[in-house]
């Protein structure tokens, strides 16, 4: 029995081509792949920001003298005519690397942060807006360079943008502590962040275990577990942590933006949990149970009680439509080397209520659609559902191939 909920056209089979006809479909697919690869290469070459120049422009009136000949981060500068030191360093956030420039000043108690500049980030704009509105950045002003700079210890996070907050803090910590030891001559009195999974990681893990269990069992417990998972998905994965999977996560993996498991265990639990459920259960439990936007759509559907059907002609083309939309999105992502740039899903915005421009219209349109049509977004527009279901199909094909070969051999 298939567990691919009908979020995409049921068959997904490509139409059989008449051998006499010119294979337009294959040609177009080939061109699409070539363009994607081209966009990726161009983006990687063109998106190397000149951080040195940016830093100098951002600190007008200060003459920065390179203290070492490092080409890669971290890079350290002295400020001519003062005891200040400026360090550029990198941290890993949810969307990718985040680069900061930090100016530290010698003080009686060692050194203080005089200025922090965010030179580049790959985060979803909604997350950065949330940090900004939560006055997250203000905490860094005037902090001692010997402080720990650890989120949830001496730095407060902002709910709904925890991972971005950690990425920014890590980049600042790397820069500040390097400057403190090498250039201000201070002793290491600060704590190092340790791998200590907390309550958040525990809750996410429990949600996955419950979702796995509900997938295996068919009894009353499974039903209760499903409800707990649905509520947990909405409240925790959605509103609290805001870690819905999106096209930017998938694109980020292809671009090599894989965060460290020590810094971002939730990312790893999410990715391994989703792929593990496909590998071991053959099910896409993310779309079936853990996607908070799916829960929102189901709630909208329950409230309205209206269940309109999608025109079968439109539904049949949904797979091609989503592939086409995600192709355009990936082109933008690869060209800009910014995973959040083309990610058109309304998830991050839904749960942070922060967004930019036209995203403010996509979210209400998606909600309005799901008021009338069950899982409107999932069935017609969601690239994550499509790709995860493609992985499920791939697994099924591999199993069939093995079964066929084994039966043939034995």
């Amino acid at each position: 029995m298939t567990d691919l909920i009908n979020i995409n056209p049921p068959s997904g089979e490509l139409p059989v081509e008449d051998s006499k006809d010119f294979p337009w479909r294959r040609v177009i697919e080939g061109i699409a792949w070539v363009l994607l690869v081209g966009a990726f290469i161009v983006g990687q070459i063109a998106s190397k920001p000149d951080y040195d120049n940016m830093l100098r422009q951002a600190m007008p009136g200060k003459v920065l003298i390179l203290s070492d000949t490092n080409d890669s981060l971290p890079v350290v500068y002295r400020v001519e005519g003062s005891e200040d030191v400026v360090i550029m360093a990198e941290g890993e956030a949810y969307g990718g690397p985040l680069v900061v420039g930090v100016r530290a000043r010698r003080s009686e108690d060692g050194g203080r942060l005089a200025e922090v500049l965010m030179l580049s980030h790959k985060e979803t704009p909604a997350f950065m807006q949330r940090l900004l509105r939560g006055h997250f950045f203000r905490q860094f002003g005037g902090k001692n360079v010997s402080d720990d700079f650890i989120v949830d210890e001496d730095i407060d996070s902002v709910s709904g943008a925890t991972v971005s907050a950690k990425g920014f803090t890590t980049a600042v910590r790397n820069a500040v502590h390097l400057g403190a030891v090498n250039h201000l001559g201070l002793d290491r009195t600060w704590q190092q962040p340790s791998w200590s999974p907390g309550v958040n990681e525990g809750v996410l893990l429990v949600l996955f275990i419950l979702a796995f269990t509900a997938g295996y069992r068919k009894d009353k417990f499974a039903k209760i577990a499903k409800y707990i998972v649905m509520i947990g998905a909405l409240v925790f994965i959605g509103f609290y942590a805001n870690i819905s999977l999106s096209l930017s996560n998938i694109a980020g993996i292809f671009m090599g933006y894989i965060p460290s498991p020590v810094e971002h265990p939730m990312w790893w639990i999410m990715i391994l949990g989703v792929l593990g459920s496909i590998a071991f259960l053959g099910r896409n439990i993310y779309c079936q149970q853990l996607c908070p936007f799916m829960v929102v759509q189901d709630l909208a559907q329950k409230i309205s009680g209206v269940k309109l059907r999608i025109d079968s002609r439109f539904q049949k083309k949904a797979r091609t439509l989503i592939f086409s939309l995600s192709w355009v999105a990936l082109m933008l992502i690869f060209l800009s080397a910014h995973p959040a740039m083309g990610s058109y899903e309304p998830f991050a915005m839904m749960f942070s209520l922060e967004g930019l421009g036209i995203q403010w219209y996509i979210l209400p349109a998606a909600l309005l659609g799901s008021f009338f049509v069950p899982r409107f977004w999932c069935r017609l527009f969601c690239p994550v559902g499509l790709y995860l279901n493609e992985v499920v199909r791939l697994r099924r094909r591999v199993r069939m191939w093995f079964a066929k070969n084994n039966s043939g051999g034995g």
Binding site: P60, R138, G141, G342, G357, Y361, F381
Partner: protein, 65 residues
């Protein structure tokens, strides 16, 4: 045996309209993103200055102060 549900024309009209509106919005988003891609030159990336208790500036602006 399940009976085949007959769709009323206005049902399909609503779903078509919703789908087309959503498509237009998504393409609008792509256009907006494309504009952003063009705006962000390799050298000009988000710069934010956080100094003491000074006011926070928009991190999405592409030119440093």
């Amino acid at each position: 045996m399940a009976r085949k549900r007959k769709d009323k024309p206005w049902h399909l009209k609503i779903t078509w309209t919703l789908s087309i509106v959503m498509l237009l919005l998504i393409f609008g988003f792509f256009f907006q993103s494309f504009q952003e891609v063009r705006k962000i030159a390799p050298v000009q990336v988000a710069v934010e200055r956080v100094s003491g208790s000074t006011a926070q500036t928009n991190p999405y602006k592409t030119d440093p102060d």
